[in-house]
């Protein structure tokens, strides 16, 4: 992401930025959940 884009993001209203943050968080949690699921699958295959 370019520095200009990041500055534009920083300048958005707080409520809007929080919605983006919530999406980022949901994505992170989903990735973590998938990782755990895969790990559990690998464990049962052993």
């Amino acid at each position: 992401m370019s520095e200009q884009t990041r500055k534009k993001l920083a300048a958005l209203p707080f409520s809007e930025k929080l919605k983006m943050l919530e999406k980022l968080r949901a994505r992170e949690l989903s990735i973590a959940k998938t990782r755990e699921k895969l790990k559990a699958q690998r464990e049962t295959q052993k």
Binding site: E3, L9, F14, K17, L18, L21, L24
Partner: protein, 172 residues
């Protein structure tokens, strides 16, 4: 549930007298000033009715209040709505000044308070983890920082040496 729902619960807790004041810090607080970055929790600085008891304060009134409303404690967090919240009692004069000078704002009409940018930088410098140092750099790249105010805070709270070391490292 969105973060504003979590804030509504905290506001109600304040209205019910469990805490006297609060302000958001950490990554969510920083989002007021800089680009949003992924975080899993919400850091909330809290002050109790008798501020001088804050040094030895127990978080149990907060936990009891929230548990009776269906929130679940998970280690150092308590989950309110969808968000694990870490309540941080104001521990020193820097925290207390940050709390006093926090900015009043709102999230989709829900009132809340955010720690000021210069105080967030000072707190991040004091904490000193890698993500805190990165955040300080982001503040300077993306937010308008009152350098006189920041210098004053760093001097008042004995952070000048840490600041010099931080500057020297990023200037390398």
């Amino acid at each position: 549930l969105a973060i504003k729902d979590t804030l509504q619960v905290i506001n109600r807790m304040q209205a019910d007298g469990i805490i006297s004041q609060y302000a958001i810090g950490g990554a969510v607080g920083a989002t007021f000033y800089i680009e949003p970055s992924a975080t899993v929790d919400l850091d909330v600085f809290v002050e109790f009715l008798n501020r001088y008891e804050s040094r030895l304060v127990s978080l149990s009134p907060i936990y009891e209040y929230l548990k009776s409303r269906g929130c679940i404690a998970e280690g150092e967090y308590i989950v309110i709505g969808d968000w694990p919240v870490q309540f941080l009692p104001t521990a020193d004069d820097l925290d207390r000044e940050a709390m006093e000078q926090a900015i009043q704002t709102d999230v989709d009409g829900v009132p809340t308070r955010i720690i000021g940018a210069e105080h967030l930088i000072a707190i991040a410098l004091r904490t000193g983890r890698s993500k805190d140092r990165s955040r300080i750099i982001q503040f300077f790249e993306q937010a308008s920082i009152d350098s006189g105010k920041l210098q004053g805070i760093l001097q008042r709270f004995g952070l000048m040496e840490k600041w010099r070391k931080f500057r020297a490292k990023i200037d390398e």
